[in-house]
Every structure is written in C-alpha cells, then in structure tokens.
Amino acid sequence: MKYSLNQYLFLALITALACSPDKQNSERNTVNIGNASIEISDAWARPANAGMMTAAYFSITNNESYADTLLSVRYTNAADTQIHESFEAEDGMMGMRPVKSVAIPSGERVKLKPGGIHIMIIRPEMNLSEGDTIDLELAFSSEEVRLIRVPVRSN
C-alpha cells in the first residue's frame, strides 16, 4: 500500500499522539488531529488523583453541511469514560444523568461545560495534575474518530 506525503504526515502525527505519555507540558489550547469539518476547541479537564472521578469539557463546531453526533468519548487510562449531563431537578436538587449522544447540527457549536453536558472520567489510573495533558478519542456518527489532547487545569 502506497501513501502520499500528506498521509504519511497524518499517520505520523496520530502515532506520535497515541504513543506519547500523558504527562506533557501544559498546553492552553486543544490539539486537534483530523480534518476541519469537526473542530474541537476550549478543551480542559479538571485535576483529580488516581482512582477518583473527574470531568472534561470542550466545544464542538460542525463546519460540515450535514449534522453530526458525538457518540462516545474514550480515555484509555481510566476505568471508563461516559457522557453525562448535570441538571437541576424539580425539587431544587442538582442531579446528573447519562447522555447517549450529543447532536451537533450543521454549522453550529455545542459547548460541553461545567453544570451541563460533560465527559465523566471514571477512576483515572494516574494523578491528573495541573499542567498535565490527557488524550481523548471522540467518535462521531460520521464515522470520524478524533484524537484530542486536553490540558488539565482547575477551571
């Protein structure tokens, strides 16, 4: 199988991201690998110690002419990663519920944020400290799988 130079570069970037350790220098911006049809920005994850619970947040912009859907998020160094939503229950209590998917309409931006839809990272295998980064794999209904590098910070 022959690859073009661009394909080689793309594969090299994916490989470098996948093989690199989680502990990296602090990066304020999300690192996106993939084409620009789906753009991920403003990503961050809250610090947590190993074995605890934390959350990641980001914005998704759909630059395509068709709707897309975020189906799942995976962080390989945790017991599980799920999409959840915080909400205010009728009795004034705050609650959380699982979300099967997140619709990203064409030309729109959907923000995952504290107090709303978020990515719950269950029991990370190592401490996630301010300045670290984690790699998340995002699967979309368009069959696109995006790998993003997310900085760990307090807010």
Binding site: N49, M94, P114, G115, H118, R123, E130
Partner: protein, 190 residues
C-alpha cells in the same frame, strides 16, 4: 418629621442585624476530618466563621464547582485566620478519610480547609439539621465491571458565624456565589 427620621433609623438598624437561618448551638456531631482527626461540630469552631460546602467525591461536575467556589471565597477574603472552610460529604460510606484526603490534595488545599465525614447515622443527622437532601439518581457499571451510584443532592454553600449560627446560604455551584458571599461577609464583619 422627627418621628419619621427616627423610624427610618430604627428600620435601618433592624435591617443591619444578622438574620439567623439555623441555630446550631444545641447540636453536637462527632465526626472526623480527612486526616482521621476527631472533629466535634460545631463546638470545635466556636469563635470562628465557617464556610461550609456539601459534596461527595464521586461527583465529577457539580461538587467540584462547589469546592472551587469555596476556594474562590477563601482567596477573595484573603484567607483570614478567623474563617475556616469545611467540605462535608453526604456520602460517608464511600468518602472515607483517605478518600477525602485524596480529594483535598487534588485541589491543593491548605490546613485551613478540611473535609469532614463520619458514620452514616451522624452524617445523616447533620445533613437533616442543615436541610441538605440526597437521593440516589442512577447507577452505572464501568467497563471494568464496577458498579457505581450517583446522587441527586442539595446545592449549598453556607456560612456559620462564631456563635454557631448559620447566617448565609446560597446555591453552592453557581458562578456568582463567591462574590455574593464575600459581599455579605464584608457587611457582616464591619
């Protein structure tokens, strides 16, 4: 005219008085902090203001917002010696002192900020007395096969005065809450 001025002054003075939301003077709860040190609440904190939040460590979103708001209050007040910060868990079965110690270390908090747990009966009684409610919302099974439960819960930050009276209460996770509490605090301490 003089009567009107006198009435206005009286009304103003009345409005300046601290409103007591809950009086905890007759209460006493035997608890422990994240270092397994015994804590008698509220007796151990008489003479200090106490900023109190209510969290559980398996909560990834709302409870960290409450904790983060408490940290902002602490920073904006300038970490005064006469104000202590307490994060009470309402999930004592899972939130052991060791878990709370991990939680505290993840937020890089100092000695003036403690997380509190205890036996389930005592914690439940404390939550009742402070009107903090919880309810299991759903359970999930991780890819590794572990079952986890999550809680719906009250969202509160309160301030207790040096006489063990709750005098300030707001929704704990809302972004404007640190400013509101700091403003109230400054008025009360004048």
């Amino acid at each position: 005219m003089r009567i009107f001025i006198a009435l206005t002054l009286l009304l103003g003075a009345a409005c300046q008085r601290t409103q007591v939301i809950d009086d905890l003077n007759d209460a006493s709860f035997e608890l422990v902090n994240q270092d397994s040190v015994s804590v008698t609440f509220p007796d151990d904190f008489k003479g200090k203001y106490v900023v109190m939040g209510f969290v559980y460590t398996n909560c990834p979103d709302i409870c960290p917002l409450i904790t983060q708001n408490m940290i902002k209050i602490k920073e904006e007040l300038g970490s005064p010696d006469d104000v202590h910060f307490l994060g009470f868990t309402f999930d004592p079965e899972r939130d052991t002192p060791a878990k709370l110690s991990e939680y505290k270390s993840a937020f890089r908090l100092d000695e003036n900020f403690d997380f509190i747990t205890g036996d389930t009966t005592t914690v439940s009684a404390l939550m009742d007395s402070l009107r903090v409610r919880t309810q299991v919302s759903f359970t999930t099974t991780t890819e590794a096969g572990d079952e986890l439960y999550f809680l719906n819960h009250s969202d509160k930050i309160m301030v207790m005065d040096p006489k063990s009276r709750v005098i300030i209460e707001y929704g704990g996770s809302q972004p404007m809450v640190p400013n509101l509490i700091v403003e109230d605090f400054q008025k009360i301490r004048r």
